[in-house]
């Protein structure tokens, strides 16, 4: 699914989080929103997911206006910064949540839900952790469970907020690879937020560099390195 963002702005009271930003994300791309904290990248991601309402501007999914679409109707698989796993539910119940929440007529049968959850557990290469609780998992395992839970709703896009932020260096590297593989096998339009330029440059097809609520530059990693559009981009990538 391709995403068009047209002149999107967002203010929280007197604070402006996003100046008018415009961006086109082609279908199937793996895009990084890169910038320091306070650059508006998470706000942009949350607007795409329907968790924030923009002050002005438009969002289109496949050409159709989605600006006022309810969060429940967006089918955006969202992975939260600290994963936000339901702590009182087992891993299995976490992943099944989205399927069980569907209205009765479109809800899969119990057997079908079981089958799909088990398949997702296989996909994230943790086939045996279904009965465990989130508190019994390592950070890396939690991140993968959060990914599986987001994928369970058969999303149209995948939105990830600092997906590797809370992990140590070794696990980060492995999970980057994991996300790349899942993206390539599902073909989902994927947008992730990060403040780590290595992560963005290594993983993304397209990097969107943001600063103070504005988009500084959009392009493939190689282009950003060879032809930075502004002093900020050059400085930020050189860190």
């Amino acid at each position: 699914m391709n995403i068009d963002i047209e002149d999107l702005t967002k203010s929280f009271g007197a604070q402006t989080a996003l100046h008018p930003v415009s961006l086109t994300i082609p279908s199937g791309a793996l895009v990084a929103l890169l910038g320091p904290s306070g650059s508006g990248k998470t706000t942009l991601l949350r607007i795409l997911g329907g968790l924030e309402i923009p002050s002005a501007g438009r969002v289109r999914f496949d050409g159709q206006d989605a600006t006022g679409l309810r969060v429940q109707d967006r089918r955006a698989g969202f992975v939260f910064q600290h994963y936000a796993l339901f702590r009182h539910m087992t891993v299995f119940e976490n992943i099944a949540y989205g399927l069980r929440a569907r209205p009765r007529r479109s809800r899969p049968t119990k057997a079908e839900i079981d089958r799909r959850v088990l398949r997702l557990l296989d996909l994230i290469q943790l086939p045996d952790i279904g009965p465990r609780y989130p508190s019994q998992l390592s950070g890396g395992q939690r991140q993968r469970v959060a990914l599986a839970r987001a994928l369970a709703i058969d999303p149209r896009m995948l939105l990830l907020d600092e997906p590797f932020g809370a992990l140590d260096a070794k696990v980060r590297k492995d999970l980057r690879q994991g996300l790349r593989e899942i993206h390539d096998s599902t073909g989902l339009t994927t947008v992730f937020v990060t403040h780590d330029q290595d992560e963005a440059m290594e993983l993304a097809d397209v990097v969107v560099v943001m600063s103070m609520g504005r988009i500084e530059q959009v392009g493939p990693p190689v282009e950003l390195r060879s032809r930075p559009a502004s002093r900020f981009v050059e400085m930020f990538l050189a860190r």
Binding site: G49, A84, F86, R87, G98, A101, R102, Y133
Partner: protein
């Protein structure tokens, strides 16, 4: 290394100090909490169990017990619902006057219950415009059940909200938002994610609220008018019986009131004990 040089780990206090602190706490608990309770029960049973039970079976005592239970049954769910709503609003949204609302919720803690009761009498009594209108339309608030319920609602208002606000602030919005992105309606997210996450705090708040609702004296004493057999709750009946030198009756009713409180405490402990695994598993990771 066969001989241990330091038998006591360096992080603990010397044995004597620990012993003294524990002894101090235990004796305080015994004097302040256990002794009065024991005194009430022993006084209630001074003439034997049959006499105590007979005192409780008197029509006035039975009506007091019934009234107290009725008031608790009405006020506790109401305050639980309003408490959840208030905590939800305060923990989840930013709005003007939020700090003022938090202060307002605490008001019943700082206002004397007697003052609260008097305020209700002033507001709804026959001398006020509102009260006069209500009486001409045959609606009795003061010296009747509605007044007792209003007074109890006022006094027990903060308990649930106060327990929930810090818990909900600490847990943040992320899990609820996750539920919404997965397609759950707001109500479903509340039922399946928010409520299970706050259930222990909610239970604790409800138990405190219940204990206070059944035990409230001051505010209820003012608004109820102490009409024997009609508007006398258990604590008020206890006081009346005591003033009439009916020691056995007074202490039997007091013991029954204390028993109600002990039962709620036991219930809480039982629930905690039965769900210990889940409690441990769902602690903040």
């Amino acid at each position: 290394m066969s001989d241990v040089v330091h038998p006591v780990p360096v992080t603990t206090e010397p044995r004597g100090v620990r012993f003294l602190v524990i002894l101090l706490v235990l004796s305080l608990v015994a004097v302040l909490l256990l002794a009065p309770l024991a005194a009430v029960f022993s006084e209630a049973l001074a003439d034997g169990l049959p006499a105590a039970l007979q005192a409780l079976a008197q029509p006035d005592a039975r009506s007091a017990i019934g009234l107290t239970l009725l008031v608790a049954v009405i006020t506790v769910p109401l305050n639980a619902a309003v408490g959840i709503a208030a905590a939800w609003a305060i923990a989840r949204f930013d709005f003007r006057g939020k700090a003022f609302l938090v202060t307002l919720i605490d008001l019943p803690f700082s206002v004397s219950p007697v003052v609260a009761g008097l305020a209700l009498v002033l507001l709804f009594g026959s001398n006020s415009t509102l009260g006069g209108w209500l009486i001409t339309h045959d609606m009795r608030i003061v010296f009747a059940l509605p007044g007792i319920i209003l007074a109890t609602l006022f006094v027990t208002f903060p308990f649930v909200a106060r327990e929930l606000i810090p818990v909900m602030i600490e847990q943040g919005r992320a899990e609820e938002e996750a539920a919404l992105t997965l397609g759950a309606s707001g109500w479903r997210a509340f039922r399946t994610v928010t409520l299970p996450n706050i259930r222990w705090a909610l239970l604790y708040g409800v138990l405190l609220c219940n204990a206070r609702a059944m035990g409230e004296f001051g505010a209820v004493a003012v608004v109820s008018g102490k009409i024997r057999g009609e508007t006398t709750t258990m604590p008020i009946m206890v006081e009346m019986l005591y003033n009439e030198y009916l020691a056995t009756a007074a202490f039997s009713l007091a013991a029954a009131l204390a028993l109600l409180a002990l039962v709620t405490l036991a219930l809480k402990s039982l629930l905690e004990w039965r769900h210990a695994d889940l409690l441990a598993a769902t602690r903040r990771h």
